[in-house]
């Protein structure tokens, strides 16, 4: 538990910074916008509607959408990174604008017209009416909107993890994917506590704004000061400097890349990825290179981040790149796909592949051993006569992927029912008999752990998914990086990867991904890369 909590302060701090900056942007945008449109209903209606529509986009989708949006606009024309802080802040700020805008408009419109007429009649200019009368009288309603937005944003910010922004979501995503419930709870509890504290501070501000005279100004000033001080103290070590995207490699930049001292490693949102990131960390740290891991990234986010140079290395799978990025058809053989993927990465994206790690993490259909025995099912084709009375479970992607259509076509399968599960829950679902067949990952330890069998793909409907370490151009030629990571090629068998995955995923006697990584590396003949 104490090891769990050690990571909390920096994540809490970056979560707080993320929320405060997003909220600040939303306030700076929302309140002037409200002032501009409050007495122009024809303008207010479309703007509030647009903000409302943005609100209906699920926060996770909105965050994910920001990544290509920022990337396509070349960092909004400012050259900011499309990874991590910038897209997260933009998405969260968009999300927070609605309650702020709506309350501010309501508050400004709610001021007694007689009071406004008196103010004008006294000889106040438009600006003076706004500053001296309208805004102070609307302030409590405006503050209530900010408070609502703050609580929402604290919650929504946990979803910034998959776009590469460190936050309390790191606990939640990693906890969910590795079935580490205490880790999940730490993330949830910390985010709830942050929401409560922020809400209490803002409640004080709101209360003060409804109060009168100098006391009001005092409370507002001290609460604002407290937030700013907290932001500065927590934020300073996390100041995010917009990073200019790495330009394509040229001979001129080559010499500057000598002597890599720090590497950022990415990982997608499942156990094997956490373990492989830790494997790379251990090796690189032994070679004297500092490592930072950005875990729980979305599958396309992590690839884009490597392309843009926001991360330096991660492990991907040949089939993923073949299907998702190269949009190539199925049916090629394993070695052909691997070779073409590596060539394409090098040519199109200046990305170096260190070759297959030695195992595949492919899609496979799996079912309970006893059920398979009863129905005499060994290969996927054997399912055909039974499928109409069977149900199949898949992860979020499965039923939308080409593999699913290819398998149905190749074996003429018509299942009675399909259900989507989080990958974490998929194996339990089939083990408990809630579904009969699942789309499993061939390297998942829970196949053996739950006494499942994978069915042979005799028609080669499912493409191969060789695991491979990918390096960004910045680090691809570094001799120490080469020395640390290149020997991993071909060093991990499917059995050992399954075992390592199971060590982390199993309910009793769990290991951390770092422990599993050290276990994997033990016994591998690795040379010392310290110079």
């Amino acid at each position: 538990m104490t090891e769990l909590l050690r990571g909390l302060p920096p994540l809490l701090a970056s979560h707080f910074v993320l929320v405060t900056v997003a909220l600040g942007v939303a306030i700076v945008v929302g309140i002037p916008l409200a002032i501009a449109v409050a007495d122009r209903p024809r303008l207010a209606f479309p703007i509030v509607t647009v903000a409302g529509v943005i609100q209906t986009v699920p926060a996770l989708a909105l965050l994910a959408l920001m990544v290509p949006l920022v990337a396509e606009t070349r960092g909004l024309g400012l050259g900011v990174s499309s990874f991590g802080f910038p897209p997260a802040v933009i998405a969260l700020a968009l999300y927070a604008v609605l309650p702020i805008l709506r309350n501010a408009i309501t508050g400004l419109r709610g001021v007694d017209p007689a009071v406004l007429e008196a103010a004008r009649g006294m000889g106040m200019s438009r600006h003076q009416v706004l500053r001296q009368v309208q805004l102070p009288l609307a302030a409590p309603v405006i503050a209530a909107g900010i408070r609502t937005a703050a609580v929402w944003t604290v919650g929504a910010a946990t979803l910034a993890t998959p776009v590469g922004q460190a936050c309390l979501g790191n606990y939640i995503f990693a906890g969910l994917q590795t079935r580490n419930w205490s880790m999940l709870l730490v993330g949830v509890a910390a985010s709830a506590a942050l929401a409560i504290v922020l809400d209490a501070i803002l409640a004080g501000v709101e209360h003060a704004l409804s109060a009168r005279g100098s006391r009001r100004r005092g409370i507002v000033a001290s609460a604002t000061a407290a937030l700013v001080v907290a932001l500065v103290i927590l934020g300073l070590p996390h100041v995010v400097v917009p990073r200019v995207s790495v330009a394509p490699v040229t001979a001129a930049t080559r010499s500057e890349r000598a002597g890599i001292t720090k590497i950022r490693i990415g990982a997608k949102t499942f156990t094997e990825q956490y373990i492989l990131a830790e494997v790379m960390r251990v090796r690189l740290e032994q070679a004297g290179i500092a490592v930072e891991v950005a875990g729980s990234l979305g599958s396309s986010v992590v690839f884009d981040a490597l392309r843009a140079g926001d991360i330096d290395a991660y492990a991907d799978y040949s089939g993923t790149i073949w299907v998702n990025h190269m949009h190539r058809p199925y049916g090629a053989s394993r070695w052909q796909i691997l070779a073409e993927v590596e060539a394409w990465l090098a040519r199109e994206h200046h990305i170096r592949s260190l070759g297959s790690l030695g195992f595949e993490n492919a899609y496979a259909l799996a079912m309970r051993r006893d059920a398979a025995d009863r129905m005499h099912v060994r290969a996927i084709g054997d399912l055909a006569p039974h499928a109409r009375s069977l149900s199949i479970g898949g992860d979020y992607e499965w039923f939308g992927r080409g593999e699913w259509f290819a398998v149905q076509r190749a074996y003429d399968l018509h299942f009675a029912r399909t259900s989507t599960f989080d990958p974490t829950l998929l194996y339990d679902a089939v083990a408990r008999g809630e579904v009969d067949v699942i789309s499993a990952f061939s390297s998942d330890g829970r196949i053996a752990g739950n006494d499942l069998v994978t069915l042979a793909d005799t028609a080669h409907a499912l493409p191969p998914y060789d695991a491979m370490i990918l390096l960004a151009a910045r680090v691809a030629d570094d001799p120490r990086v080469e020395c640390a990571l290149a020997p991993l090629r071909g060093s991990i068998t499917i059995e050992r990867m399954r075992q390592a995955n199971l060590m982390v995923d199993r309910a009793a006697g769990k290991s951390s991904p770092a422990d599993a990584a050290r276990w994997l590396l033990r016994g591998l003949p690795m040379r010392d890369c310290q110079d």
């Binding site: 007694d112 007689a114 008196a118 009649g121 006294m122 000889g123 009168r212 005279g213």
Partner: protein, 250 residues
């Protein structure tokens, strides 16, 4: 002196004022009398340019107001509305000092002026730091008058200032207004729909009906020589009320 010459104003299809001409002499207290929709409030707001006319001209002491800055103009004209329209987030003293602050008076002068005005409108110093919702309706209206006069305005516009007050308070404040008007030698235009109020308070009365002036005259002139049936109905109604009250007390 206020010169209103041939002023018209329409809102869409509604003609709020039709060719209204009126002179208010310095030191005069003129009541503008009419039912709702007669254009009386529009006429008042034309004087401090909360509304600008479609046609016609308004001059104050000979200067056409159309060419003055409306914000600067309003700071020289006292303005009192129904239920006072006090700023609810400010104390009595802060409310009264609104215009002096806009004009940039120094703090000591403002303080002295607030004390002076509290005395003028008959409130004692204990009211200084109260908020509007801690005052009675009559006290609020006194503060409203003090606020209107704070920057030594010579011209006072009142829009149904006593409409929402109970009868006893209303009569007391009407007397106060008459006294303040005389003591400070103000030029005052008061909008009202109450014939008795107009008759007992004003030097002259302007009767408006659907945007047109039906009669301008002293209370005596209105009572003795109503210009038309409408004015005659108004005056006879006031007379009937007075007679009825006399009968009861006899």
């Amino acid at each position: 002196m206020i010169d209103i010459v041939g002023v018209s104003k329409r809102y869409g299809d509604v003609r709020a004022l039709r060719h209204v001409t009126l002179q208010v002499a310095s030191g005069e207290l003129v009541a503008v009398l009419g039912e709702s929709g007669s254009g009386k409030t529009t006429l008042l707001k034309l004087v401090n340019r909360l509304i600008d006319p479609d046609a016609g001209e308004i001059r104050i002491d000979g200067h056409p107001i159309a060419t003055t800055d409306p914000v600067a103009l309003r700071r020289t004209i006292g303005y009192v509305i129904q239920q006072a329209g006090l700023f609810p987030h400010w104390t009595v003293a802060r409310n009264i000092s609104t215009v002096p602050r806009l004009l940039g008076w120094d703090a000591a002068t403002i303080r002295a002026r607030v004390d002076e005005l509290l005395a003028v409108v008959g409130l004692d110093g204990s009211h200084r730091d109260r908020y509007p919702d801690q005052l009675s309706g009559g006290q609020r209206q006194r503060v409203g008058v003090a606020r209107a006069l704070a920057a030594r305005a010579r011209l006072l516009l009142l829009d149904e200032p006593f409409g929402a007050l109970d009868p006893i308070t209303r009569v007391a404040l009407q007397g106060e207004l008459r006294r303040i008007h005389r003591e400070l030698a103000l030029t005052t235009i008061m909008v009202t729909h109450d014939m008795v109020e107009a008759l007992t308070l004003a030097d002259r009365i302007v009767v408006l009906y659907r945007g047109e002036v039906r009669q301008v005259g002293t209370p005596v002139e209105l009572m003795t020589r109503p210009a038309d049936d409408y004015v005659a109905r108004l005056t006879s109604m006031a007379r009937h009320q007075a007679d009825a009250i006399a009968d009861v007390s006899a």
